[in-house]
Structures are given as structure tokens and as C-alpha cells.
């Protein structure tokens, strides 16, 4: 029985939700974390670094909400700040230099909403990351562990392949923001009944390339491992131009229907 939107939201926002840090510690060996954007600071919402995945070096970008109150505060509940986008940009440039694929894992509400991020050019930082991800000469893959909304999440998902856990969500705005518009129209059904935002719906329109079942929980890491490995395998034969073209065509095709 598929879960209702409300249940999905509760699941992905729960403190017990699988985090990018957990996935990294289970699937990656010799993980080496990279801090800071070299300009303003280090965004703790984004765990960035490199490590071995099946014996091959990869670059990792993991957005975490935090598992307890202290972590949530440190990590700004997953709302990536301007410093996080710039850290990511720096880290993917190095990935490109050393020809490592990039894996992003997300559970984030959207971009940070603060005076700090605005005054330090969050818009440009997001645009720069979107652009750089699209032009990347190495394969990139995104796994939505939880939710991801607005341009903030899109910056990490302008990629060759998108995977989602079965209860993950990806939308133009948070389900609450969509619901608020609907309420003005006296519509009270779930926001997802009016616009595609669930993994199943987004796979249906061709945005999402694979859905990973969340049960049985015992073997979830194995399925994530297999999913990421298969996605990277399918991209390994493509050269830099073919990778760029594949991204461009993936999104263009989806928008032409």
C-alpha cells in the first residue's frame, strides 16, 4: 500500500531517517572529509569529501538535517547556506581534475533563508553550482534520501542519474508551500495529487531513473550500494562531451512533452 504524502513527510523528517553520513560510513572506505568554502566558512549541513566506493575513488556531497537537536542546530536542519554551495563547487572542481565521479545524497528542506546567505550571494552560489554540475566532465549521480525542494536541492541534482528512496520527495517548493496556494483555491487534497513530487510520480515523468525500496530495512544499505553502483556503471563509458549532452538531453526531453 503506497504511503500518503503526510506519512512520507513524517518519515523523511524524522530524526531516525537514514542520513548521508550513515550511508558514507557504511559504503565508503577511507573517507576523507573536506571542510570550508575558502571564503566565508564551513557549512556543516554539507558533508563533502572523497573516499573509495567499490575500490574506486569518488567525491561525495551529503546534505544532512541532523539526528538530534544539537546537530539540527549545527546543520541548520539541512538548509544549505551560501558557504555550502561554494564548498560543493570547490569540491566538484577537484573531482573533475582527478576524474572522480560525484555522488550527492540529499535530505534538505531547500536553501537557507537568512540575512547572511542573502548578503553573501546565495543566488549566485546556487546558480554557479547548477551550472558547474551540468558542465561536469565526470559522471554525477544524486540519491534523494529524504526530501529536497527549490533551487537549493536542484543545485545538487543537475546530474546524469537521479535515484530516490521510495518515500523521498523532490519539488519546486515544500509541500506546505504548495498546500498554501491550494488552500486559497479551496482544495484540500494532498499537494502531491496536484503536482508530481513523490519518487513514484517523478519516475513516471522520466525525471527519476531509479527508486530504491525502503523495506526490508535490514538490507537497505545493500540496495543503495547496488543502485549507486549500477548508475555509475551505466555512465562509465561516456566521455566528457557525452556526459554533458546526456544531462542536457535528459532535462530537455522531459520539458518538451
Amino acid at each position: 500500500m503506497p504511503k500518503k504524502l503526510e506519512e512520507k513527510i513524517a518519515l523523511v523528517r524524522s530524526a531516525k531517517r537514514l542520513s548521508a553520513q550513515q550511508v558514507i560510513s557504511q559504503l565508503i572506505t577511507d573517507f576523507f572529509e573536506i571542510h570550508g568554502d575558502r571564503q566565508l566558512g564551513d557549512d556543516r549541513a554539507l558533508t563533502a569529501g572523497l573516499g573509495f566506493f567499490h575500490g574506486r575513488p569518488v567525491t561525495l556531497l551529503g546534505v544532512n538535517r541532523g539526528a538530534n537537536i544539537q546537530q539540527r542546530q549545527e546543520m541548520n536542519a539541512g538548509a544549505v547556506r551560501v558557504t555550502g554551495y561554494r564548498k560543493a563547487l570547490r569540491v566538484i572542481k577537484t573531482a573533475e581534475k582527478f576524474k572522480r565521479p560525484v555522488i550527492s545524497m540529499l535530505n534538505m528542506p531547500g536553501a537557507d533563508a537568512s540575512v547572511f546567505s542573502e548578503q553573501h550571494g546565495q543566488s549566485q552560489a546556487i546558480a554557479d553550482l547548477i551550472l558547474a554540475m551540468g558542465q561536469l566532465t565526470v559522471p554525477n549521480v544524486t540519491l534523494f534520501l529524504g526530501e529536497g525542494h527549490s533551487g537549493g536541492a536542484l543545485a545538487f541534482s543537475n546530474v546524469n542519474k537521479i535515484l530516490m528512496l521510495e518515500n523521498a520527495l523532490f519539488s519546486v517548493a515544500s509541500p506546505e508551500a504548495v498546500q498554501a496556494i491550494l488552500k486559497n483555491q479551496n482544495q484540500t487534497r494532498d499537494a502531491s495529487e496536484y503536482m508530481p513530487m513523490t519518487a513514484q510520480q517523478l519516475a513516471g515523468i522520466g525525471l527519476v531513473d531509479g527508486i530504491i525500496a525502503e523495506t526490508p530495512a535490514k538490507t537497505l544499505y545493500e540496495r543503495i550500494d547496488a543502485g549507486l553502483l549500477a548508475a555509475l556503471k551505466r555512465l562509465e563509458s561516456l566521455d566528457a562531451d557525452a556526459l554533458k549532452r546526456q544531462r542536457q538531453q535528459k532535462f530537455a526531453r522531459l520539458l518538451s512533452c
Binding site: 537568512s114 546565495q122 547548477i130 519539488s171 491550494l182 483555491q185 508530481p196
Partner: protein, 262 residues
Amino acid sequence: MSHMPKKNRWQVCKHCGKHVHELQWAPYFRCPFCHYLQRLSVPQRLKISVDPESWQPMVLPKQTSDSLQFPGYQDKLKDAKKISGESEAIEIGTAKIDNYPVALGIMDSHFMMGTLNTAVGAALKQIMQVSLTQKIPLILFVASGGARMQEGIYSLLQMNSILNEWQALLDAKTLVINVLTDPTMGGVSASFGFKADYVLAEDKAQIGFAGKQVIAQTSHEILPANFQTAEDLLTHGLVDQIVPRERLRSSLATLLKLHRGK
């Protein structure tokens, strides 16, 4: 000028509340009392920006799509058309400024707050192609509240699909100038908004990513007085220059001249 009340020659300034006669508004639409700028329609923008009779509008490559059949969207579109006199939130075409040929995209905030959807995105990609193939500079007058919610993920994906093609424009030796006008927000500001060789802003324009209300609610911060204004962005090094509307045309002409029209 269809968003202006017909016959009524006096209009209230939205900022100071004073009644201003139409002769005092035209052609720059700056309030003589508080000096705030009114948001312009496309014809008003053209009139003060390009050589007379030089505007060659192009048909938008894609019509508005309501593929999600989002509740209330059709009514909103109908109202937007009536208020703005436009078929969508952008017009594209070619024109001349001081005899220099340019490709132009002009967004209209009177059409659903200039929001970015599939039709606007397609128009932007089209005018980028025109600039590339005809090797003429691209000038964008940006005015947008961000991604259009009613088209859901399809609006969001305009941001990256535009930028995936934008690189060709940035790589070409063609001049790109963005003029950020009130408002330049959200998914527009965080995609092509600042992706130009020169980023100019009109004075007092609101420019940013997240809305002020959202920021106040989320961060519980007291917002600085001039927060998200063009002036604040200039102070923080985020725009090249603030150009008052009265000098915009001559500033654009100077930039074109400095690049010999390329």
C-alpha cells in the same frame, strides 16, 4: 499600458501614497515625491530603452502549458493577460540601441509576477540562440518573483535546463548584459539572473533568493532596513552598478560601444 486605469490621469504612488499625474510619471515612471520607480510594462520599457521603430518582436516558441491542470491556474492566466496585455511573462525580439543591434528579453512583472515557467524558459532559450547565431549582444531585463508554482517541477527544471544551454552563450564571444529590475527573486535570481558579463540593477529594486517574510519567519532575524535592495547588493559586491532608469539607455549604449557592438 493596459495595467494603468483608463481615463484616470492620476495614479497613486504605491510607495508614498501621493497622487501623481500621468504627465509627471512618463516616461520613466519615477514618483516625483518619493523617487521610487514603478514597475514597467514591456511597451514602457521598450520606449525608454531602444531606438524608435527598431523593435522586432518574435513569436514565443512555446505556449503556456497547464499540463498539471493546477487548480485556479487558468483563471490566474486569464487575469494576467488582461492586466498585462501580454500572452506570457516575457517578450523577446531584436532591436537597436544607438544603432547597435541587440537581442532582447523583457520580463513583465504584471504577468503573474514575471514567474518562470516552461513558456518563459523556452523563450529565454530561444533568444539566447538568436544572440548566438546572429552574433549580437543579449540584453535581458529581468523582473520575476521566481519559479511559477503552478507548473510544479517543470518550472523548477527551467533553472537547470536554461543553465545547461547557457554555457554556450557564456563561452561565445558575445556580450551579455542583465538588467535586474524590481523584483528579481528566487529561481530566476538563482539561475540566469546573474549569469551575464555585466549585471546592472535599477535603484531600489528588490533582488534576492528567499522572500523577506520567509527569512523573517525561518531565521527569526530582524531584517536590515535596506535588505535585498539593489543598494544593499552593491555594498556587498553582488552587482556591477546601480543605474537609475533615466540613465539606463545611455549606460547600455556605452557598454555596447566599449565592446564595439559585440
